[in-house]
Symmetry: C2
Subunit: 415 residues, 2 copies
DNA sequence: TTAGTTTGTTTGGCAGCCATACTAAGTCTG
DNA sequence: CAGACTTAGTATGGCTGCCAAACAAACTAA
């Protein structure tokens, strides 16, 4: 019953206003500085309407007058720009061996970035989140921003996050069914606002959001962001929207089967993709192929394989070729399944293919059935290691822009 | 530039009205007969607004007064119901060996169903579409409906259809880059309205739409409809929306690699999923396994395998076990990638698993990495062979409901 | 200095939703 | 059976918010 109701939801005047505020604010943030007349042309809204919306955005503190812009002819325009005094967004990340906090403003300017190494797998969720909260204080101090000026908080975790912001599982942290939202709010209690907007999302998904908001993904309506560190994960954007699925686990591609005869994965299945292409798997293969002559030395790093391959080292060359092949098989599957415009290589892969994208493009071509002349780009991430925190920030920014009236930190404005 | 603008589009009063007309019409179609008061409660719109919207829907011919409904207490309500005289939707299908036309009204009542066998692979696109147009005339005659009363036309094809309704490729028909929209409009020129709304979509995608609109899919927000005849295709619904991808090829899962050591597919790759689980592959395997003792007999049908397995025939049992295994591997991949609530077995699979779903459920469980207690149903299609035409109809219906003012066939109303 | 061009504001009108009051049509109770 | 109660639907008036058009402002060009 009621399946058609899902088509759309009813709309009233206040929703209309809110939507149009969003549209104009988004355009202003996007341009950085833009006149009312241009906004009217670009959005299709009436000039008078744009003026009214811009005035409200000014009162809300989102927007301020910038400089003037003199065209070839006519009255010069007054530029509207995002108000840097509006507040900041905190983007954070909990990963296997570090915590990270980024403080930035809605225009995308970085105010502070702090990182703390931590073996999260041996830390309880509660403790890790406490330390993350402490790191946020440090970040705000460095940025010289008062806690009351925080507009929203984003957090990326290497696990599956459901629609209620519960972390269902994070295999590499050893966490299961953790109410991260609740813990986070407790940890920042008395420090940040009680009902601060909070976004919690999977790390690969946020990588995709980072590329979509601040990076190369802005060029594509449908793309797959591929990230691999200990496991392999993908963030999928289709029709401009992040694909989440029922549990938020869409794009958890590490355990797709690419070869049932492959080695056993720790998940119990055989031939999972990440058995072939995760960072750990690749480094292991390289170590084995190069023999145990340097058994005492610390494990190789990704760069070591690239450097060795440069010199013609057989083990390195073979390792890279195998990676190319299995990465291409999996990417081929992603392409057939999601039909994206582009695949963006992030994390480990952005390191491994910085100079070798063409090799991968060639290999992928032979593993994608293309009967109709696909448009498919394979690109390198523009964010590298920082993708997750920028995605946490960008996701929060989108959420704030979608609700310009509900933003926190209005106290200063009211006073 | 302008990536944030994609968040939402600006809204004005007429858009608001249109949206609310849609909401109310959708609810009326969905219920079949419902009072204004109930509509107000369910949609959250004001009673007065619902009355006004309902009046306009009446003027547009979409809705008429049905009977009365006396509750336990109070004034009886007047039921609003879809107007069966509003017109009909034609849902059609071009498949490898037949054409099909379904005539039905917006309430979902079937008025006529005609099917014509045709070896489409040896027929040119133009000829096939001409014959489809002829079949539509037959269907309308059988339904005793005038061509002017056709509200919209949907067509399903076993191929990739892009956003401009071009058929990019249909391997099993041997068609490539066919402007089906244009051909169809020419074929019905002078018979159906010049600017009749037309929907052209991939067959598996329409299977998903059929289940979503009229079948078991209505229970799920995210599900994958799996259809297999000559190839294997999936229609994916996420967040209540059909996933199409850049070229409309999302869910074309027949050529994902499930075993690089597998047999060569006609596409040139090795170990494509459809090499293991398509109807043709399964029948072939059964034939080989049962030996060539009956080489002269016509090939087995799907039912023959099931019947043989019932009697304990070793070849049949082995064939089914292999199908279970490889179907489960692929379904596992789909589940990891799309994270659906449900997988709906359509086409060939709805035949093969009608009595054996539990076997597949068990097998799938061992090929899905489930670290967090997934909710996943595996269900049989409710539509079987007719999924595609009902999907073409349902898709067109959704499109009409989304634009209640733009519907065709208003001439009769105006006169 | 005047005409032309572009920007942004002001004014008035209109569409559309909502709250409220009211009418309509039934059931329930004493 | 009359009056209280309940629910459905309509009518009225108000408010919000968009738009069109006129206007004021600020500049260039001749």
């Amino acid at each position: 019953m009621s399946h058609f109701l899902r088509l759309v939801r009813p709309v009233d005047g206040s929703w209309m206003r809110m939507t149009n505020l969003s549209v104009v604010l988004a355009a202003i943030v996007d341009h950085g500085g833009v006149s009312r007349a241009t906004l009217a042309r670009e959005t299709g809204l009436n000039k008078a309407t744009v003026s009214s919306l811009a005035e409200e955005l000014g009162e809300l503190g989102w927007v301020r007058a910038g400089g003037q812009d003199q065209g070839a002819l006519g009255r010069p325009s007054e530029l509207l720009e995002p108000n840097p005094g509006r507040g900041v967004i905190i983007g954070t990340e909990i990963n296997v061996d570090y915590l990270a906090v980024l403080v930035s403003d809605p225009a995308g300017a970085q105010r502070a970035l702090v990182i703390e190494e931590l073996d999260v797998a041996t830390t309880s969720p509660g403790d890790a989140i406490e330390r993350l909260a402490a790191l946020m204080r440090t970040g705000l101090e460095q940025a010289a921003v008062a806690p009351a000026d925080v507009l929203g908080l984003g957090l990326g975790v290497p696990g599956v996050v459901d629609v209620d912001r519960r972390l269902l599982v994070a295999a590499n942290l050893g966490w299961r069914s953790v109410d991260v939202d609740d813990m986070l709010r407790r940890a920042v209690h008395g420090f940040l606002d009680e009902d601060l907007p909070v976004l919690i999302e999977n790390e690969a998904n946020l990588g995709a959001v980072a590329e979509q908001t601040y990076g190369i993904g802005a060029r594509f309506e449908d793309f797959v962001y591929l990230s691999g560190e200990l496991g392999v994960g993908a963030g999928v954007v289709t029709a401009g929207e992040l694909l989440r699925g029922t549990h938020g686990a869409a794009g958890e591609v590490g355990h797709i089967t690419v070869d049932p005869a492959g080695a056993r994965c720790h998940c119990g299945k055989y031939g999972c993709w990440q058995v072939f292409v995760s960072q750990g798997a690749v480094l292991d293969r390289f170590r084995e192929a190069s023999g145990s002559r340097d058994g005492a030395r610390p494990g190789p790093r990704p760069e070591d394989i690239l450097a060795a391959a440069e010199t013609g080292d057989a083990a390195a060359v073979e390792t890279l070729a195998t990676l190319d092949r299995y990465l291409a098989i999996g990417v081929g599957n992603l392409v057939e399944m999601y039909d994206p415009n582009a695949v963006v290589l992030g994390g480990f892969y952005s390191t491994m293919y910085r100079e070798r994208v063409d090799e991968l493009r060639t290999e992928v071509a032979s593993w994608v059935m293309d009967a109709f002349g696909r448009e498919l780009s394979i690109e390198l991430s523009t964010h590298g290691q920082d993708a997750c925190i920028w995605g946490a920030t960008g996701g929060m920014l989108r959420s704030l822009i979608a609700n310009p009236r509900h933003a926190a930190a209005l106290d200063g404005l009211r006073a």
